[in-house]
C-alpha cells in the first residue's frame, strides 16, 4: 500500500514537472529573460555591483519593457572563479532558459563559460571581458561584445607613449588571459625598448605586494611604467608606487586601473600623486554624447558616485538588447532577425555611434584620459585627446565569420 502511494506521488510529481516544462515556452513569450553573470562576492564585488547598478538603471530608464515584453533580469555571482562562472552560466541557460546572457568581467571566466551558453543556442554578450580568442579563432555568430577587445586599449596606450617620445618601458600585469593580452597589446604598438616585464600571480589570492617588482623597475632605468591592475590590486599598486617615490621619477601609464572605482579611494587616502596620470579608454564620464550625459547624471543622482567604464558598458548592453528585441517585434524565436539587428549597432550608445566588425567586436574610438578634479572637487577622469578613430582589433582577420 505504502509503495503504491509513493508511486502515485512520484507519477504526480513527474506530471506536474512535465507540465511546467511544457508551459515554459508559453510563459517565455511574454517576457525577455536576461542572465547577468558578474562578481558579487570577494573584493571584486565592487566591480560587479557597479555593473548591476548600471544595468538596473538602464532597466529603469527603458521602463522595464522592450517590444511590449516584460524584462526579467537574473543576476548570478561568479565568485571571481572560472569554474563557478561556468556553473552559473549552465544554470542560467538550462534551468532559467534565459534569452540573453551577459555580464562577464573576467576573460578567464568568459572563456570557461562561453561553450555552455553558445552550445545552448543563446546570445552571449560580453559587457566587459574581451579575450583575443573570442575575437579571433573562437568567434561565434551568437557572441557579441559591447566593450572592446583586450589588446585595443593598451595598443592605444603604446601609441600615446610613441607620441610623447617615451623611449623605454617597464611592463607589469597579472598572469591571466586578459593580463597577457594587455601586455601583448602595448608591446605591439610601442616602438621603444621594453626594459622588463613582470607577470604577477592573479585570482582570488592575487599578489598585492609589489615591492620586489618596483625595485626591479627602478633598477632597470626605465623611462616609464605600464600597468594593468583592475580592482583591488590597482589601488595597492598605485599606493606602493607612490610610497616607493617612483611618481617623482618614473611616470605611470595605466589601462583599466585608474577608474571611477579606484579614484574615490585614492582621494580618501589623499594620494594626490595619482592626479594627472594618463590612461587610454573607449569612454570617459565627460564624453560628450546625449546618451552619456543622461547616463552619467542619472547615475550620479541615484548612486552618488561616478559610473565606471564597467557601468557604462553594462548600461549600453541593455539598450543593445532592446534594439534587437524591438527589431523583430518581440519574436524571441527569430534569432536571425535579432542577430542582424545587433550587427547594425543601431542603438543610442553612451560612447556615440560605432559599428561592428565581422567578429562582433566594436570598431570604435579610443581616447587618452587624465585623472583630474571635477567642478565639485571629486576626482574623476577627463578626455585629453583622441588616440584612435574607428579602431578595429587585430584578431578580426582570424575570425571566419
Amino acid at each position: 500500500m505504502r509503495i503504491h502511494k509513493m508511486g502515485l506521488i512520484s507519477v504526480a510529481t513527474a506530471a506536474i514537472m512535465g507540465a511546467a516544462v511544457l508551459a515554459a515556452p508559453a510563459l517565455a513569450a511574454d517576457k525577455v529573460k536576461i542572465g547577468f553573470v558578474t562578481t558579487l562576492t570577494t573584493p571584486a564585488a565592487v566591480i560587479g555591483n557597479d555593473m548591476k547598478d548600471a544595468f538596473d538603471l538602464a532597466n529603469e530608464h527603458i521602463g522595464g519593457t522592450m517590444a511590449g515584453l516584460e524584462i526579467e533580469i537574473i543576476y548570478e555571482d561568479d565568485g571571481f572563479k572560472p569554474e563557478i562562472g561556468k556553473q552559473k552560466t549552465d544554470k542560467l541557460v538550462k534551468q532559467d532558459d534565459v534569452d540573453f546572457i551577459t555580464g562577464y568581467i573576467w576573460s578567464h571566466v568568459l572563456l570557461a563559460s562561453r561553450k555552455s551558453a553558445l552550445d545552448a543556442g543563446k546570445f552571449m554578450i560580453s559587457a566587459n571581458a574581451g579575450p583575443s580568442q573570442l575575437a579571433g579563432k573562437l568567434c561565434h555568430k551568437n557572441f557579441f561584445s559591447t566593450s572592446w577587445q583586450n589588446d585595443q586599449t593598451p595598443m592605444a596606450l603604446g601609441e600615446v607613449l610613441n607620441q610623447r617620445g617615451v623611449k623605454s618601458l617597464y611592463i607589469m600585469s597579472p598572469n591571466y588571459a586578459a593580463g597577457k593580452n594587455m601586455a601583448a597589446g602595448v608591446e605591439r604598438t610601442f616602438k621603444g625598448e621594453i626594459k622588463g616585464k613582470d607577470m604577477t600571480k592573479w585570482g582570488k589570492d592575487a599578489q598585492l605586494d609589489f615591492s620586489a617588482e618596483l625595485a626591479k623597475a627602478k633598477a632597470s632605468g626605465t623611462e616609464a611604467i605600464f600597468v594593468f591592475y583592475p580592482g583591488k590590486a590597482g589601488g595597492a599598486f598605485i599606493k606602493q608606487y607612490m610610497q616607493a617615490g617612483l611618481n617623482e621619477s618614473i611616470p605611470l601609464y595605466t589601462v583599466y586601473t585608474v577608474d571611477a572605482l579606484s579614484l574615490p579611494k585614492f582621494q580618501k587616502a589623499e594620494m594626490k600623486g595619482v592626479l594627472g596620470s594618463l590612461a587610454t579608454q573607449f569612454w570617459s564620464p565627460d564624453l560628450d554624447t546625449p546618451q552619456n550625459e543622461k547616463f552619467v547624471s542619472a547615475f550620479l543622482a541615484k548612486y552618488g558616485r561616478y559610473p565606471s567604464f564597467y557601468a557604462a558598458q553594462s548600461y549600453d548592453t541593455l539598450f543593445f538588447i532592446k534594439s534587437a528585441v524591438e527589431a523583430v517585434g518581440g519574436d524571441l524565436t527569430n534569432m536571425d532577425g535579432m542577430r542582424a539587428a545587433m550587427e547594425k549597432a543601431d542603438y543610442p550608445s553612451v560612447r556615440g555611434p560605432y559599428s561592428y566588425g565581422n567578429n562582433h567586436f566594436p570598431i570604435q574610438n579610443f581616447y587618452l584620459r587624465e585623472a583630474a578634479t571635477d567642478s565639485e572637487g571629486r576626482w574623476t577622469t577627463k578626455i585629453v585627446s583622441t588616440v584612435y578613430s574607428n579602431h578595429q582589433d587585430v584578431y578580426a582577420k582570424e575570425c571566419k565569420l
Partner: protein
Amino acid sequence: MEWVLFVSQLLNGLQLGVLLFLLAAGLTLVFGIMDFVNLAHGSLYMMGAYFCVTLTSALGSFPLAVLLAVILTFILGIAVELIVSRHLYQRDHLDQVLATFGLILFFNGAVHLIWGPEGNPIALPDYLNGRISLPAGIEIPTFRLVIIAIGLAVAVGLIWLVTKTRMGMLIRAGASNRRMAGALGVDIRKLFTLVFALGAAMAGLAGMMIAPITEANIGMGDDILIVAFVVIIIGGIGSIRGAFIAALLVGMIDVMGRSYLDDFMKLIMDNQSAETASPALSAMAIYILMAGILYFRPRGLFPPRHR
C-alpha cells in the same frame, strides 16, 4: 647597480618575512601548545586591519589607531577563545577545522555587512609615507623599515617572554604536560585564553602593518594563512624560533623568486616560455622548499624538544 637591487630585494624579503612571522607566531603557539588548528587565525589578521581602518579615520592618528586596534584584537581573541575554541581543545582536528572554517565565513560576512565589499585604504601620516636613503643609493619606503623594526622587536619580545619569564615557563609547562601543570596549581584554562589572545593580537598587528600597503580587504587573511601554515610546518610546529627563521626563509625565497627567477629561466628556455613559466614557478617555490625540508626533517627545522 646590480647589488643595489640585490640589497633592496633583501630588505623587501626581510619585510615580508617579519610580517609572516607576526602571523605565524600566534598560529604556531596555538597549534603547538594547545594542539588546536585555528583556520580563523587569518580572520583575526583581517579584523586587526579593519579595526585599524576605522580607528585611523576616527582618531586621525595612525600610531594611536594601531595601539588601540592591537588591544581590540586582543579582546576579540579572548572572546573567540571563550565562546568557540575553548570547547574544541578536546575534540579532534577535523571538528576544529570545521568550526574555525565556520568562523572564517562569519568574519568575512560580518566585514561585508559592516565595511562593505570594497577595499579600505589607510592613510599614512607624512612622516611614514616618505623614503629613507641608505648608503650607496639604496632607498626604501619608511613604512617598510617600520614594519621590519616592529616585527623584529616583537620577535625579540616574544622569545624573551617564552624563555625568560615566569609566564613563559607556565606556557611551556602547560604545553609539555597539561595535567601535571594543572595539578601543580597552574590555571591552564586562563593561560590558554591568554596565549590565544596574544596570538590574535600579533596577527592583528600584522594586518595593521600590511593594510596601509595593500588596503584592508575581505578574505585577506585566508590567502596569507596558507603561507603562514607553510612557515610553521617548515619551522617545526610549536617553535617560536623555528617560526622566525622559517618566516624569514619563506619571505626571502618568495621575493627572490619573483625578482630573479625569470632571468634564470631565460638562460634555459626562450623568452616567451620563461615569462609564463617563472611566475608559476616562483609561486610554487615555497611549497617546493617545504616538501624538500619535510623530506629530510619530517618534524620541521626546529621541532620543540618536549614533543
